[in-house]
Amino acid sequence: MERSVLQGLAAFRWGAWLWMATVLTVSRDDLRRPWLAVGLVAIALVVTVADTVLLRADPGALLRPGPVAAELAVGAALVLCDGWAYGPDHAFSTSQSLGSVWPLAGILGAGVALGPLAAAGAGVVVGLARVGAVVANGASIDSGGRVLSLTNTVVFYALGGAAGGYVARLLRRAERQISAARAREEVARTLHDGVLQTLAVVERRATDPALARLAREQERELREYLFGVAGGQGGGDLGSALRAAAARYEDAFGGRAQVIVVDDLPSMAEERVAALAGAVGEALMNAGKHGGATKVTVYVEPAPDGGVFCSVKDDGAGFDPAATPAGQGLTRSIRGRMEEAGGRVDVNSRPGSGTEVCLWLP
């Protein structure tokens, strides 16, 4: 990134220098001290060439304070030279002066090298050089228009530098983020093929359930680190809350709980997410405690009415709802949470085919 910005700056510097040479040629008759103007344009050429050579040999040097300050000094001198090189009042005439564009390259360079604040400062210095030029010319700054014109120059250079520095900073930050993401992806790919596969082998072939459980926990944590809790799994806050509840179930009972999120879920207030995730957590605990389930599926999708439908299905023992009075321990806490949030609950179960708790939240 840095290199391409510096290359752009070099091109800008050359364009500005050519423009300056053109101005020098066209306005040669207005010059009071042509040798001074020619000398300064020559020094600017030396700086332009030197910076170009440096860009090829050692681009990092262009970002060091020395070369930046040197270019700024030449730029300021160019602006100041207007005062001696041209006749009186030239600064306020409509004719072009020598150093209007070229010094901007130095200010932008300061922005890239030292940040927006330093570049704004450099802009102020170059702008003040123009004030010096006017004073050297013996022109008076008596009218409001002239004060405004000088202030305009200072503001122009300062803002240009600040904007340049700011953009360079943003680019740098974006570049850092991209390279960090790339590194993470690389790590993810390596771990994916190696460590995650190995953990899966352990999980599958371990005869000790505690070891299998440990491998599963590690796999889940690694996956969350690599892909983020929400990364590639979706579901927003609710999805994350449900996955957290599923992880707690796995830790507590050693079974497996998967969370299926279909489609984009509507955004929900924090307490509604908490109510639904809490109810799901209770259903999971019931599945582990009373049902003896080994596998639980938590399913969630947007309901047609704009709310959410969620189900918790286990492969446990199941029970006969007719023989179990409603509102008993098993469903009371779930029902309480859901009704408080304005939702409703339905429990389907048959002995031998597990239990499904269905939850609706409008």
Binding site: H192, D193, L196, Q197, L199, A200, V201, E203, R204, R205, R216, E219, R223, F227, G232, Q233, Q258, I260, V261, V262, D263, K295, V296, T297, Y299, E301, S311, K313, D314, D315, S353, G354, E356
Partner: protein, 209 residues
């Protein structure tokens, strides 16, 4: 010599330890006729041995399981093995012609049972895959207005995604378990077809011959 009733299997995975592990878990009802470490090797082995079942890793050198499914999905039954159900390519592999997938951490007996049923033609559908397919058809319905699934198929798909077994779905909908299986097979067929149509549409729109 393997018993006559056994299922001919081609195992494809670039890690030999996985092939060893799966072979050990398969037991005597399966007969591993060939093993492969790349997609091309797997395709060659399938052409040569005409297996009843292919167990194929999703990520392999040279195109991986998607390439195998795309090339041989119509000749044989392919079950994908994957490390993670969140893998981006999973749906693509199934849409390309695999009849389902299994997560690599599936315990041995469950793996054997699922592969046995797959060899008999039963789609190996998990809640996660059903959820992915449901999402895919909803996306399709939203973007094109077309609704390729029948109401009953959507219902079955949602039940599978919620974690019900084919048997439980049959009991809930008062239909035979075989009918549920047929619905699932049709859903997979429609997914396959839709992907093909999408590709053709894309090719036509972009002038690719």
């Amino acid at each position: 010599m393997a018993p006559l009733s056994s299922v001919k299997v081609v195992l494809a995975d670039d890690h030999p330890i996985w092939r060893d592990g799966v072979r050990a878990d398969l037991g005597e009802n399966f007969w591993v006729v060939a093993e492969a470490g790349t997609a091309d090797e797997a395709i060659a082995a399938i052409r040569q041995h005409r297996p009843d079942l292919v167990v194929c890793d999703l990520n392999m050198p040279g195109g991986g399981g998607i390439k195998v499914a795309r090339t041989c999905g119509e000749e044989t039954r392919i079950v994908m093995l994957t490390v993670s159900e969140q893998e981006r390519d999973l749906l693509d592999a199934v849409a390309a012609g695999a009849i389902g997938y299994l997560v690599k951490s599936t315990p041995g007996p469950e793996l054997r049972d699922a592969l046995w049923r797959a060899a008999k033609g039963e789609p190996v559908f998990s809640p996660t895959l059903a959820g992915l397919v449901l999402g895919e058809f909803r996306r399709l319905a939203k973007s094109t207005g077309a609704e390729p699934l029948s109401d009953r198929e959507r219902e079955v798909l949602q039940y599978v995604a919620r974690g019900h077994t084919y048997k439980e779905i049959g009991a809930s909908l008062f239909i035979a378990e075989k009918t549920v299986e047929n619905h699932v097979r049709n859903i997979l067929g429609k997914l396959h077809l839709n992907r093909k149509q999408e590709l053709i549409r894309y090719a036509l729109e972009h002038g690719i011959e």
